[in-house]
Structures are given as structure tokens and as C-alpha cells.
Amino acid sequence: MLKKLNIKFLIGLGLFCILAAVANNLRAPKDKSVEWIGGQEVLEKPK
């Protein structure tokens, strides 16, 4: 089945998703955008 897959479509759309992610982070306001490499705080577990 792997041979029948359109690899160009998969790679092409995958690359497009990465570009869209970059564009989205750039267009998002400062309070909603994130650093490219990094993470977020782990909050306390609710009781």
C-alpha cells in the first residue's frame, strides 16, 4: 500500500503545514504567540 501512496502530496502538504504554523505564530498577538523552541509551565493538579 505504501508504494501506492502519493508521497509528493504528503511531503508537500506536510511542508505547507510547517509554513502555516510559522506564519500563524508570527501573526498571533504577543500574548498568544510562543517561542519557537521551548515549553510551558506545568500547572498544579486540581484537587
Binding site: 503545514c17 500563524n24 498571533a28 500574548d31 510562543v34 519557537w36 515549553g39 506545568v42 486540581p46
Partner: protein, 227 residues
């Protein structure tokens, strides 16, 4: 077309219609009780005051009954049933992923906070994953609906389901007490809805994987050749 064949086709269409309605109601009962829940309706609670405790069970029963209703439709007119199901599943799964991605795209930081609560990815990959995952959901969900590359989109969507299931099992095993974060960001610290999200994702794996048996063709072509 002979009248008998037409009556049979109508029966198949009706069976698929009711199957879809039941299946969808079941998924909503399990996962989106705020939107629709039979077990929380006034007239149901009047007769069965404790019905609200059994939403998950009722939802699963609805899903199973819906799936079973496909059998007579399939026996009556296999080709028509499969084409209708293909259209509905592509629209449903594609639409669900598009819908689920919108809030994550709108608020990358909020979604990154949710991803961080799972404590699954290395710290430095959390933000990247939170940026890229919603785009994959949106564009491959859309591609499942508008492009003929069914198998390719389904494989990616199945990989997404697998990642959600792994993350949810991880959260449950570690008793992290977090919300799924699948369709909303608010309540990153709310009590776990991980179980219902896990059941929903396991249920939706079935119809999604079935699409792998279908030919790559556009939805428009599927609708045109339906009879």
C-alpha cells in the same frame, strides 16, 4: 431502474441515515454532553433521575446500534451503502478535525499550555508541537474533504488519533487530572475528561480506518456516481 431496486435503494438509504444519526448521537453523548445529551434531558431525568450517570454507557450503546444498522443496509445495496458512508465519514471526520483545530490555531500559547500538562513531550518540543499539530489537523482534515487523496489523508489522521490515544492513556496512567484540550482550551486544570475523549477516539478509529479500503477519488465524483 426497476421499482423493486429503487425501493431497496431507499431502504438502504434509510438504514444508513438512521445508523448515522444514532452513531452521531452516541459520539455527542460520550464526548459533547454540553451540546447534546439524551441522559441529561428533563423528560428523561423525570422518569430516570439517575440517567445522567450513564451517559457514557448510553453513548456506547447508541454507537454500537448505529454500527449494527449498517449491516442490513449493506446487505440490501452494498455499493450504495459504501458510497454514502464514504461521503458521510469523509465529511464528518474532516469537519471534526477542522473544527477541533480552529481554537488551537487562534491561541497557540493556550494550546501549548494544554500540551505541557500532559508532561509527555520533552520541554523544548512542546511549543513546536503546539504550533504544528493544529495545522496538520486543519489542512489534512480539509484535504480529506476536498482532494482525492483519501488514503494519504487517512494515514495522517490515523497517526493523529494514535498520538491522541497514547497521550490520553499516558495522562490516565499517571493520573494527571487534566482535560483533553481537544475542542477547547478553557479548563486546562479541570478534572479529567480524558476517559470520554479516549473512548471517543477509539470509536472513531474504526470508520476512519475503513476509509483506507476506498479508492482515491474526489468527494464530488463519489456524489456524482452515487445511485
Amino acid at each position: 431502474m426497476k421499482p423493486l431496486a429503487t425501493r431497496h435503494s431507499l431502504l438502504a438509504i434509510l438504514a444508513v441515515f438512521f445508523a448515522t444519526v444514532l452513531f452521531t448521537l452516541g459520539v455527542f453523548e460520550i464526548s459533547f454532553p454540553d451540546v447534546f445529551s439524551l441522559t441529561e434531558m428533563g423528560f428523561v431525568l423525570e422518569k430516570f433521575p439517575h440517567a445522567w450517570k450513564y451517559g457514557l454507557h448510553i453513548g456506547i450503546a447508541e454507537v454500537v446500534l448505529g454500527a449494527l444498522l449498517i449491516i442490513p443496509a449493506w446487505k440490501i445495496n452494498r455499493s450504495l451503502t459504501e458510497r454514502i458512508l464514504e461521503v458521510l465519514i469523509r465529511l464528518g471526520i474532516g469537519g471534526m478535525f477542522i473544527f477541533a483545530s480552529v481554537f488551537k490555531i487562534a491561541d497557540p500559547k493556550g494550546f501549548a499550555v494544554l500540551v505541557a500538562q500532559y508532561q509527555f513531550l520533552p520541554h523544548n518540543l512542546v511549543n513546536l508541537w503546539a504550533l504544528i499539530l493544529p495545522q496538520i489537523e486543519f489542512w489534512f482534515g480539509l484535504a480529506l474533504i476536498v482532494t482525492p487523496f483519501v488514503k494519504e489523508c487517512v494515514l495522517v489522521i490515523l497517526a493523529l488519533f494514535a498520538s491522541f490515544i497514547i497521550a490520553l492513556v499516558w495522562a490516565l496512567a499517571l493520573d494527571l487530572g487534566i482535560t483533553c484540550g481537544c475542542f477547547q482550551i478553557d479548563g486546562a486544570q479541570s478534572k479529567a475528561e480524558a476517559w470520554t475523549a479516549l473512548v471517543r477516539d477509539l470509536i472513531l478509529l474504526g470508520p476512519t480506518a475503513w476509509l483506507l479500503t476506498r479508492e482515491n477519488k474526489s468527494l464530488y465524483f463519489s456524489l456524482l456516481t452515487m445511485r
